[in-house]
Symmetry: C2
Subunit: 338 residues, 2 copies
């Protein structure tokens, strides 16, 4: 991996549903906060060059021209075999080759997962990578994993997720002894299916983990634990249901303020308040899902994320780099399996 | 079952976390809307009698005195064996014996499930009962099941849920050809674990079901389908995560309006609007989970539900009665297995 004194991030410029503009604007926004980070934009030079020129963005960025684009309808396995010259493949490869420290893409999740896993391999001791993200809570935020990388998990996968969540919470969020919760249908010790029962039994004995116990769906936004561990099937559905519920609430809120003449007046008065609220609930604020457990840093941005969101996804990649997240997972794995 | 011209509902008066008052007030609220329904209040006569007297509520209600109470810490199997003289057991038994048409309880869910299943048995053709509830959507609402009765499901269970959801949507909600969606991590045909894959394969061939296909968590509140089918583990977690997210949003909303002097002023102006909003998002409005697939009508109210919520749970029981939901499921099952 590249020397951390000079961090370089590979950008899959063709991966966003909104086109290269939102991606490049996202990188530009990020560079206003942290100017020393460099970028390699993988994609169509004809589209990227004018955008970089407009922003006078050449001092910290370069372009690697690619012609293939992996769209969302392409099967991961086909992406791996037939799209070796795509912006996504080349961006991931640049991390594998040590040219970049991390890759950020808003493209096809399955393809990103498969290509990253095949090129980078999982960290020694970790069987399967996991997708993780931050979930907003009453206190601050909690890390939740897996969110869909593994729709069928065995016991070892669940334990790996707990472990990776712990190291993330330690190193990136600075929580010394993060509370690890296992998502279940009830908090009582006898609740749940055989998988969570077996996982809890093992986690209770694990000295390196501060296992809180079972938590329920409504405990996640309350911030009961620092790390929420679940299989990828349940995690994906829980996260998306939460996103949909937040959208429904916003819909109700707007509808209530449009109800009659008085409510429209109240809406105008409340505009600054609603703006504050929007910043709090905006899912883009939490944009960026991390692929944990790979020998390299991969961050997935929402495909339809705007430039603010893409900038946030880059921040996550940057945080994982400067906190030497992967090195710490590797050294912690060695401690456990010594 | 009793003649439907005179509907009688058995009430587990001791099952609410808030005590008998909220339960009896709930029944009273309901009787103001539909006065012809009768009630049997199972529980401590000394507590119930003064409350009924105060409301002059005797003309349509009677008391069956019981001394045992099944609290939330009692294991379902113990509840079944050792609490045969409890308010919950006796209330369920009165449906089994044909004295009442339905039972409503805010008590221990596991106990309610086990006692109901043992006393009433499942409907011929249905292997396992399911817990169902209404989920609010942008359009109106959708029925979702299972919500935790079965944390491990086989293929037959999932198909039963689809079928019961369809009949509910038909008979109670009046939707002629309800769209049935199977909850998954993606809408593409190849997504998901082996269980949803096998279930979708069967549902696609099923002529009696209008199978929409896979839906994702965020599709539920958007109202993409009329019936959301899922295993009890995922369904329970998705529903509770949605409840928690709604609570978090309310928390953010309150916080934004308390931010400074101006926002406090805007709050006062917006009070009527926020009240409308509250009615829209208040989970109590949707209180009442139905146990479907039993030879008898059982509705579970939230334990901490207020009288409005309890009244709503009674409405659900009443709807299931007058729509002859169980008779229709039975006749539909016969059609399918003819």
């Amino acid at each position: 991996m590249k020397n951390l004194k000079e961090i370089k991030i590979a950008i899959d410029t063709m991966g966003s549903d909104l086109g290269p503009l939102s991606v490049i604007n996202g990188a530009f926004l990020f560079s206003k906060k942290i100017p020393k980070v460099k970028f390699i934009f993988f994609g169509d030079k004809k589209k990227i060059f004018p955008l970089l020129k407009e922003k006078k963005f050449f001092n910290i960025s370069e372009i690697v021209h690619t012609e293939q684009v992996i769209t969302n309808d392409i099967k991961p396995i086909d992406a791996l075999r037939k799209f070796k010259k795509s912006s996504m493949f080349k961006a991931i490869e640049s991390v594998k080759l040590g040219i970049s420290n991390a890759v950020v893409s808003g493209g096809n999740t399955g393809a990103l997962m498969v290509i990253s896993t095949v090129l980078m391999k999982t960290i020694n001791g970790i069987n399967r990578p996991a997708i993780a993200c931050m979930f907003p809570t009453k206190q601050s935020e909690t890390i939740m994993l897996d969110l869909g990388a593994n729709v069928e998990c065995d016991l070892k996968n669940i334990l790996d997720f707990a472990f990776m969540g712990k190291v993330f919470s330690n190193t990136v969020l600075g929580i010394k002894k993060p509370k690890i919760g296992l998502l279940n249908v009830g908090s009582e010790i006898l609740k749940g299916n055989s998988m969570v029962q077996r996982a809890a039994k093992t986690l209770r004995k694990e000295k390196n983990i501060h296992f809180y116990g079972f938590i329920e769906g409504n405990d996640i936004p309350m911030g009961l634990v620092d790390v929420v561990v679940t299989d990828g099937f349940t995690g994906n559905i829980a996260l998306k249901t939460a996103e949909g519920t937040s959208e429904l609430y916003t819909h109700y809120l707007k509808k209530s303020f449009k109800n009659n003449l008085y409510s429209k007046f109240a809406f105008i008065i409340s505009l600054p308040v609603l703006k504050t609220l929007r910043n709090r609930v905006d899912p883009f604020k939490y944009n960026g899902a991390m692929f944990l457990g790979l020998n390299g840093i991969v961050v997935k941005s929402h495909g339809r994320s705007n430039s603010d969101g893409f900038s946030n996804a880059i921040s996550i990649a940057y945080d994982l780099c400067i906190n030497k997240f992967n090195e710490k997972i590797i050294s912690n794995m060695k401690k456990i399996f010594k």
